[in-house]
């Protein structure tokens, strides 16, 4: 039943994508738009085919950067959220700093990371992490605070250790929120990785986009953009799948 539903969703998704591509192709031909302005899907595909392994290799690099930034943002985001809800002075002193820091556009400080961390993968991962972590913190704090009053009382009456209460009650209670935060943060991690590659890189989809744009090679820009879009969608779908597995009890009737 579920798999039928999923495959139907997949089919309608593919169908609407194909319709959009067809409309795009036809309009390019009909209005005689030059490829440098907007290439037709067929020429984007042709561009991808000229060296698909080069494209995929660079996509792989960006994917690894994204996953590293994402993993760090989940680990540190949840840790920071735990400290925020359990240590009063931490909330008073650190939370305002985090909020104000989040208001600084990370794109603007990205070049600094090149100065600090060089031109390897580290600054990209760092930027990806910084852009992605805030979503995790906000949702994890919300989740950790959402334990119902009755359940808090139950915990006190049972007199368990703080450790037990945290791992058996509080964290599972926060899990749905944390997963929501993760779905937002995975896309942001991808954005961060691209921003990092814009600033200084010889590899990755961000590098392809920037260098191709410099030489007015618009089909190449679009080939990279399509890969990026596909990657974002795959990552998001993967998280939705994980979410369904981990919080299966939420989806019962």
């Amino acid at each position: 039943m579920k798999s039928v539903f999923l495959s139907r969703r997949l089919l309608t998704g593919i169908a609407s994508f194909l319709v959009l591509m067809a409309a795009w192709e036809v309009s390019i031909k009909a209005f005689g738009i030059r490829p440098i302005m907007l290439p037709a899907p067929s020429s984007i595909l042709a561009e991808f085919r000229t060296d698909s392994s080069w494209y995929l290799g660079n996509a792989w690099y960006t994917l690894l950067t994204t996953l590293a930034g994402f993993a760090l943002s989940v680990i540190f985001g949840v840790l920071i959220a735990v400290l925020l809800v359990s240590v009063k002075w931490f909330e008073n002193t650190v939370y305002p700093l985090i909020v104000s820091f989040n208001s600084v556009p990370k794109v603007a400080i990205a070049p600094l990371f090149v100065v600090w961390l060089g031109t390897g993968p580290e600054p990209k991962i760092a930027i990806s992490f910084l852009i992605a972590v805030f979503a995790i913190i906000v949702d994890a704090v919300h989740g950790l605070r959402s334990v119902p009053a009755d359940v808090m009382d139950l915990g006190r009456v049972l007199k368990g250790s703080r450790w037990d209460f945290f791992f058996k009650v509080r964290l599972p209670c926060a899990l749905p929120s944390i997963l929501t935060g993760m779905k937002v943060s995975i896309s942001l991690a991808l954005v961060g990785a691209i921003v990092g590659e814009f600033v200084a890189s010889q590899r990755g989809l961000g590098y392809i986009i920037l260098s191709a744009q410099g030489s007015f090679d618009t089909p190449r820009v679009f080939a990279a953009l399509f890969l990026l879009g596909g990657m974002g969608m795959a990552l998001f779908t993967m998280l939705e799948w994980i979410e369904r597995r981990v919080t299966h009890w939420r989806h019962i009737a």
Binding site: P148, D150, V151, D153, L154, R156, V157, L158, K159, G160, S161, D164, F165, K168, V169, P172, C173, L175, T247, W249, R250, I252, A253
Partner: protein, 266 residues
């Protein structure tokens, strides 16, 4: 042995306008009795229960559970809340076992006790289900099992059936009596239902509207096990009409206004 011994208990909520929630509450509950605490909404009866549970501190007076002054939740109590407070991500069995895990007690013995409780409450076939798969009544039964798993000497119930429909509520009353007759521990049962309070209890403690004071303590002398039809007997009627007269005299029931109000306080 006295299970709960309250002497001139006073509870004030501090604040810009401090409110007196409990005023001079003195009550002795002997071991092994089923006591209903009955009063209108907001009369402080739940506050009293929470003080016994050690979830709130009394302002003055003395409050002892099993012979020692309450300072934080006493050992070996079980509590049932108005909303079942089950953990959605745990199966019924795992929910019931939570106190055992928290108290680091041997699980093998507890599993035997759990199976017995599941059987007693008619949940045997639902042990591996998740709370969301159960009806409100079944969830509350699971919560009762959880409260009883560690054989507490004192069971505290805070309007446990308040969120259930009338029919389910009747059913739960019958079942609670049956379970209790097996367990025979001390129960403090907070409710605003007159009929429910009388049906279940050996003693009904009647609270006045805020600030909560004890207006009367009634012994209920009806043989057990009680059938639901006991509610139609003249003896039962005598108890409930007396309580209704008390509520009337406190201005809580006004029969000229509407009969519906009387019904809803059942």
């Amino acid at each position: 042995m006295i299970a709960v011994d309250a002497n001139n208990v006073q509870k004030t909520y501090a604040g810009p306008r401090s409110t007196l929630a409990l005023d001079n509450v003195s009550l002795e509950i002997p071991q092994g009795r089923f006591v209903s605490i009955l009063g209108p909404s907001g009369c402080g009866k739940s506050t009293f229960l929470r003080c016994i549970a050690g979830l709130e501190q009394i302002t003055s007076g003395s409050l002892q559970v099993q012979g020692s002054e309450v300072q934080g939740p006493p050992d070996n109590i079980g509590m049932v809340f108005q909303r079942d407070a089950l953990l959605d991500w745990r199966t019924v069995e795992k929910n019931i076992m939570l106190p055992i895990e928290f108290k680091k007690k041997p699980e093998a013995d507890a599993r035997v006790a759990m199976k017995k409780l599941l059987k007693l409450t008619g949940l045997s076939e639902f042990g591996d289900r998740y709370p969301r798969e159960l009806s409100g009544g079944m969830r509350q039964r699971a919560a009762i099992c959880r409260a009883l798993i560690d054989s507490p000497e004192l069971l505290l119930m805070d309007e446990p059936f308040g969120a259930l429909d009338a029919l389910t509520r009747d059913q739960m009353n019958v079942e609670l009596q049956r379970v209790w007759m097996e367990v025979r521990n001390t129960v403090v049962f907070v409710t605003h239902g007159i009929s429910e309070a009388v049906y279940l209890a050996d003693k009904v403690v009647i609270f006045s509207p805020r600030p909560g004071r004890i207006v009367e303590i009634m012994d209920i002398n009806l043989p057990r096990p009680r059938k639901l039809s006991v509610r139609e007997t003249p003896e039962f009627g005598a108890y409930t009409s007396h309580i209704r007269d008390l509520f009337s005299s406190m201005g809580l029931i006004d029969e000229h206004e509407s009969d519906a109000l009387t019904e809803s306080s059942w």
